[in-house]
Symmetry: C2
Subunit: 131 residues, 2 copies
């Protein structure tokens, strides 16, 4: 049921992947908006406010849940979902950090350390078989 809850701030960014993937879809974003606005809602309810079937909503909620962006608890015969800020927050931080990284890296560094001789255009990319 949960995996993104694995509060993993590790470098690989395994969670970031999930969040970005989930957030990439517009319908999913609308869903989150609705959810954030209402606090709680069931898949059936949400489907009523979107141009898609209930099943589609269920699938989307599953993705969002896997990404840790929402969580649902059972209440009687229905399952109410609610938004879960943590993962989003973490991803926002990650992204801000990345942006900062890019900014403080105008260019160079690598270019200098990559061509000791005098060739700014190394035609022989050599060794590293990154595969």
């Amino acid at each position: 049921m949960d995996d993104a809850a694995t509060m993993d701030r590790s470098p690989g960014g395994e969670m970031v992947d999930g969040v970005l993937g989930a957030l990439a879809d517009p319908t999913r974003r609308r869903l989150l908006d609705l959810l954030a606005a209402q606090g709680e809602a069931t898949a059936t309810t949400l489907a009523g406010r979107l141009p898609v079937s209930r099943q589609a909503v269920v699938k989307h909620l599953a993705v969002l849940d896997a990404a840790g962006l929402v969580a649902g608890h059972r209440s009687g015969r229905e399952v109410r979902y609610a938004v879960r800020p943590a993962a989003l927050d973490d991803t926002a931080r990650w992204m801000a950090g990345l942006a900062a990284d890019w900014e403080r890296r105008p260019a160079r560094i690598k270019a200098l350390a990559e061509a000791p001789p005098s060739e700014p255009a190394p035609p022989g990319p050599p060794p590293s078989g990154t595969r």
Copy 2:
């Protein structure tokens, strides 16, 4: 010149959409990492460091460019691409704002304004067809 440069912080979040979509793909993220690390690189060079063809890289770069995450300028017979922090930064802010929004919204509000009569199921306005 391009399009994402349309510094549009408008509500619709037209840019955010592009950035999230672009960032959703892992290959594209690797590409950005490489690019950020080297400062500048051509599609051909980058393809050499990734497990995909040059053409695939070209397509990815096109997506990233459309999202405003990279920009390329011609230098002789080659086209060097470089990372472009602005869009990423904006998106990070947007996301942080959203997260903050979620956090300061434990629930309620809706419950009060939504059920005066007795019918909480209006056929709502299907906004822009997502697809």
